[in-house]
């Protein structure tokens, strides 16, 4: 930075606008969690985890590829735990040294996720043993994806975020479609359309952030 020149006015009105646009874009990139780190790890977890489920059990329980029973479970939950970690780091880095309403919103929204999955765990842990294994698997995975879809939609309302709106809506529709199609097909739908959709929506959000539109009038 040239500190002597910084007291100088910008050379022209166009230069002023360029300075404003560049600085705002830089600040937004710093203050917004990287969409690639927020959405892609989950997408990969669904793609690989549910993909293995489909390969192991197929649409009729017979399966297409021989593998140990524990492998799809371990892959899905291991990758989801990794995704949670990566996303948390991205959210923390964007939110560090920012105080105020966003921090409050973020912790309340985090509580909603925690409560939803804790409640689901206790409820399904109590009833899923009484179901045939394919239906039990469907119950766990479809209710998880339903919670994710609904909480993305809620996040869209909280943050006025289009990516969360479209991804939440998309996952919700794909989830219901998969449930109607039945166990096995649900896993395939979540792998391809859920994981693939997350990759696409994450990419679009990242491109939008990397190449911001022309200067918007600032909301008061």
């Amino acid at each position: 930075m040239n500190e002597v020149d910084e007291e100088q006015p910008p050379a022209s009105p166009a230069e002023s606008l360029r300075l404003i646009r560049d600085q705002r874009a830089r600040a937004e990139r710093s203050l917004t969690p990287d969409p690639r780190l927020v959405y892609w790890p989950w997408s990969v977890a669904w793609l690989v985890g549910y993909g293995l489920f489909f390969l192991r059990y197929g649409s009729d329980g017979d399966g297409l590829v021989a593998m140990p029973d524990w492998l799809p479970f371990a892959a899905l939950f291991g990758l989801m735990a990794l995704a949670l970690t990566v996303m948390s780091v991205a959210l923390f880095r964007a939110g560090r040294h920012v105080a105020g309403e966003s921090a409050t919103k973020g912790s309340m929204y985090g509580m909603a996720w925690l409560m939803a999955f804790t409640g689901q765990g206790f409820l399904l842990g109590r009833v899923s043993d009484r179901l045939p294994p394919p239906e039990a698997g469907l119950l766990w995975s479809a209710s998880s994806m339903g919670i994710v879809a609904v909480l993305y939609l809620a996040g869209a309302a909280i943050y006025q975020d289009r990516t969360m709106l479209y991804l939440g809506g998309w996952l919700g529709v794909v989830n219901i479609g998969g449930v109607l199609a039945g166990p096995g097909w649900h896993a395939l739908a979540m792998a391809v359309a859920g994981g693939g959709g997350g990759l696409v929506f994450g990419l679009l959000a990242w491109l939008r952030l990397a190449r911001p539109p022309a200067l918007r009038p600032d909301p008061a």
């Binding site: 500190e3 166009a14 600032d218």
Partner: protein, 101 residues
């Protein structure tokens, strides 16, 4: 053509950058001094000088607080600062439109 007058507080490269960066904060949020410094790529001394001028003009609200035992300075645009920034961008656009005719 009479030129719209540009606010001299904001019409300096460093302070324009400070105000532009702070304008991206959602309403109700405050940014710490070191984080703002990192976003702007300015030295602490330089940023302090410009923040003082913006604070004196009533454009930036400065809150001194504590995180544990460490003192922290939190910054945001005041209502007046947001208004001044909007007026500035409007005036600059008017200049640009006038110049292109």
């Amino acid at each position: 053509m009479s030129l719209p007058e540009l606010d001299p507080v904001i019409h300096a490269q460093a302070r324009l950058r400070v105000v532009a960066a702070l304008s991206t904060l959602p309403h109700g949020d405050r940014l710490s001094f070191p984080r703002l410094q990192e976003i702007l790529g300015m030295t602490a001394g330089n940023l302090s000088v410009h923040l003082r001028k913006l604070e004196d003009a009533g454009y930036v609200d400065v809150t001194k607080t504590h995180h544990g035992r460490t003192p922290a300075t939190l910054l945001c645009l005041s209502r007046r600062g947001r208004l001044a920034f909007e007026d500035y961008t409007t005036a600059v656009r008017a200049l640009l439109d006038g110049g292109s005719q």
